[in-house]
């Protein structure tokens, strides 16, 4: 396998009865890339992502994530990735520190590693004063930043983000993207699924799924040029309406 291609997908398909939820998709994602995975509700994004993170077996095709085959090494994939979703991120009734300890434990870090990581993370995010407060009491933007850091605790090769900044205020949102750029700069691959098209504008490359197939894949700039529009929202509308 090519070392720089951390996600390699070939003709990947998932059938539910006669219905092809994901229909022979093919794409690669490079190390350190911020890759946007877009599609309308029901286009097949979630089904595709579930196969990539090793929790759903494909019907046919090939895929390797972080060097592991999705058919035979799903458990190894889970250990090599981080995952953050807007819907479920952290436990509201645990404190900031307890959340870090809990997820550190889940990811198999030692007590010593957890202690060190917690300190660095809390300092970096400026959470010293709220480290012993319940996460439920934090503003949404802080939670999102914390939950992204937690998803990176075990230095995963790839981090999967599901609509990471929806509803977050514009300034915090930018701080969040700065964190993403930093992670990518340090070599972590960032895989973003979203239907917030303004999030898509930040990605290095984006793919757009329509009815189970990838109908477009390129940099946001090239896609906008190709469809002769000003923003990704209009690119999306053009593709989805055809």
């Amino acid at each position: 396998m090519n070392k720089n291609k951390v996600i390699q997908v070939e003709e990947l398909t998932k059938m539910f009865g006669d219905f092809a939820a994901v229909n022979a998709i093919t794409f690669n994602v490079e190390k350190g890339e911020i890759f946007g995975f877009l599609g309308a509700n029901g286009a097949g994004k979630t089904t595709a992502m579930k196969m990539l993170i090793g929790i759903s077996k494909p019907t046919s095709g090939k895929a390797a994530v972080a060097g592991y085959d999705v058919f035979t090494n799903a458990e190894d994939i889970k250990k090599s990735i981080g995952y953050m979703s807007q819907k479920f991120a952290l436990y509201d009734d645990l404190t900031v520190k307890e959340n870090i300890t809990f997820f550190g434990g889940i990811y198999g870090l030692s007590r010593k590693q957890i202690k060190e990581k917690s300190k660095v993370l809390i300092e970096e995010l400026g959470l010293e004063n709220v480290a012993n407060k319940l996460v439920g009491a934090l503003p949404l933007g802080w939670k999102q930043k914390l939950s992204f850091s937690v998803a990176l605790l075990h230095d995963p090769k790839i981090v999967f983000l599901d609509e990471p900044t929806g509803g977050v205020d514009p300034i915090t949102r930018r701080q969040f993207w700065e964190m993403i750029y930093k992670a990518a700069h340090n070599g972590t691959t960032v895989f973003v699924t979203t239907h917030y098209m303004d999030e898509a504008e930040y990605c290095d490359r984006v793919s757009i799924m329509v009815n189970g197939k990838i109908e477009a894949l390129n940099t946001p700039k090239k896609l906008k040029e190709y469809f002769k529009v000003d923003n990704m929202n209009d690119v999306f509308l053009k593709l989805a309406r055809e």
Partner: protein, 300 residues
């Protein structure tokens, strides 16, 4: 005047959800309340729809006071909460019947108002609401909020979690409803939807930052914004942030939006600086402020 809010404040224990909010919405206006989660949008909606009582201030909706005349308001307004709150185990048809009956009317009587929207979900009318897709749920909820022909329609984040195609369709529907002389107060965290409203209020942390037409709000932005790009986004942001003359540095899609503190700012000087930071392929171009730029400037 369709909605008249004057000095409304509301606190939950220590949290000041709304602080001294005042604004008016004209009859037939499409008014947007634009702000992130936690700004106080839902609290204001609940006060205006008589589901919550403010600590201070007064408000009138369709000419009725939200406290003393609450019953009249409930008959005159439609409310679509942010969280889907129809009966999941009733079908599309049954939900609509139910809401019509509650308001002492029939689906037939006001069918004209919902026809455009209802036709899109009618093929699935015997399906249970819990089994519908996000876009279909949203259309059904709108039909139920409209079935008693309200004077004022309250829509709390109707497009959150909805894909761009359904979002666009939804706004087209709102424009058509507006033609029927229904006043609409709609909230959204999507800054790009602000441009579709007649007037907007930008809200954050329980305070109104500004109220005006979307065009005027953008024009009021005092800063000249520059689109800056280079070969390495991460290094570019860090370099701009350490540039001593910067006023603001915000990643903005494929660019960084940069404003400078000097009145005689020359982009060439910035380019020289960025080159000294080992960046290449540098582009610096003037660009026009968006609602989001203005929001960030006001919230700073």
């Amino acid at each position: 005047m369709s909605i008249n809010i004057s000095n409304i404040s509301k606190s939950y224990k220590k949290v000041k959800a709304l602080q001294n909010i005042s604004f008016k919405v004209e009859t037939g206006e499409l008014f947007g309340l634009i702000g992130p989660d936690g700004a106080g949008k839902t609290t204001l909606f609940r006060i205006l729809t008589t589901l919550l009582i403010a600590n201070k201030g007064t408000a009138k909706v369709a000419g009725f006071d939200v406290v003393s005349d609450y019953k009249n308001i409930r008959n005159s307004v439609g409310y679509m909460p942010g969280k889907f709150s129809l009966y999941q185990d009733l079908t599309i048809e049954e939900n609509l019947e139910f809401f019509a009956t509650i308001f002492g009317t029939t689906v037939e009587e006001n069918y004209d108002l919902i026809k455009d929207i209802y036709m899109q979900i009618e093929p699935f009318k015997t399906r249970r609401a819990g089994k519908l897709s996000g876009g279909m749920k949203q259309k059904l909820a709108l039909c139920c909020a409209l079935i008693h022909k309200p004077k004022v329609l309250f829509l709390d984040e109707p497009t959150t979690g909805v894909d761009p195609v359904s979002r666009k369709e939804f706004w087209e529907m709102l424009k058509r409803l507006q033609q029927k002389n229904i006043t609409i107060l709609v909230s959204t965290p999507y800054m790009d939807e602000a441009a579709l409203c007649d007037r907007i209020a930008l809200i954050q942390n329980g305070k109104i930052l500004e109220i005006d037409t979307p065009e005027a709000i953008v024009k009021h932005n005092p800063n000249q914004i520059y689109n800056v790009s280079a070969d390495n986004m991460y290094k570019l942001i860090n370099s701009l942030k350490t540039y001593k003359h910067n006023h603001s540095v915000y990643p903005f899609g494929e660019f960084v939006h940069y404003t400078d503190r000097r009145t005689d700012f020359n982009p060439k000087a910035l380019k020289v600086y960025l080159e000294s930071q080992n960046l290449s392929n540098i582009h610096i171009n003037k660009t026009v402020a968006t609602i989001e730029d203005t929001f960030m400037e006001l919230a700073k």
